[in-house]
Amino acid sequence: MTGSSVSSRKVLSKIATNRLQKELTEWQINPPSGFTHRVTDNLQRWVIEVNGAQGTIYANEKYQLQVDFPENYPMEAPQVIFLHPAPLHPHIYSNGHICLDILYDSWSPAMTVGSICISILSMLSSSPAKERPEDNDRYVKNCRNGRSPKETRWWFHDDKV
């Protein structure tokens, strides 16, 4: 178990529940293209299928994102990771953790699951090569006790990829 607020699984606040229900309704009417939400009755954890965009090196590949919402969402960012196997990408670690600023320091409550998905797809689409981050082994080893990526002190890589 990790000590993060996400995995301690407190019940969602009223504001969080209300907002997630609205996001889910909006998703059902108008899902972001390239994504499918796997329907469950668990509002606090969403599993979303990502389809690599055509014309990119991830075309025709499918990955799964797991999104866990904290009790006081959207005042706190959700925890977003790729389920195994995570795509090979210079900002995605083999344990599924994603180095993307909006998921951590640059979170804003005006962002939604939909806008996070679009950011992740654009990060995938702009990648020139399928490779792991340079520090992958060291980082993954450090996370072995099941640490949440939200506890990592991220050093954001360049914005180009």
Binding site: I15, R19, K22, E26, M75, A110
Partner: protein, 268 residues
Amino acid sequence: MAKGVCSAAVQAEQLKQDGNLYFKKNRLGAAIDAYTEAITLCPDVPVYWTNRALCHRKRNDWTRVEEDCRKAVQLDHKSVKGHYMLGLALIERENYSEGIKSLERALDHGRGAHPNSYMVEEIWQELAKAKYQEWERHSTKRNWDLHKLQESCEMALKEHHVDGDVDVNEQLEALKLVFEKAAEADVPTEVPDYLCCKITLDIFRDPVITPSGLTYERAVILDHLEKVGKFDPITRESLVQSQLVPNMAIKEAVGAFLEKHGWAYKMD
């Protein structure tokens, strides 16, 4: 004389404290007695009346809630609790329109004093519930009346189609569209995006505008400034609480929308 007044006030205040203590222990009878004594000593202190009303409310004794609250708002027309419980009492005896007015007054005064307090949220919930129920009653009647009218019109059309040039079926179809149009406002759909906060995704209650020109729900933007950071959630420009200004235009637009589409008061 002056000394007498003073000691009566001190004594009454002590009785109020006693009453509060009994109330916390759920000894409502004892609490009511203490507040009653306080009122006898100093009948002009509104809090004694609203505190006693709170006890009556817990006992579902709505007639007495109404009496005490009327006295309280007469003494202090800004008494949030007075207007609030008076509203609940009026709704309880099915005087919906007056009850809603009292809740609205409570909300206005409550927001002025503590825009972020739990009381404001609670009052809003009760007001929204009352408004929704009011809409349900009226829309059911409106639908029924329309339905009857439509039936009569259809019958009339069918009976009187002597003129061979006019296609009755076409007319009936057109009539159906006219009636659908007439019922439109009462059909729950989605609230337009421009009347919803980008953080709550819900219809605005107390909208405030930032220097970036963006509008947010007051309670959540305050929460954001405190917990996330001092920036506008969408533009990320720096933002502090003192820069927030009520957005009266949006507030009026929300009011006009809710007036026509009472279903939007439905919570969760």
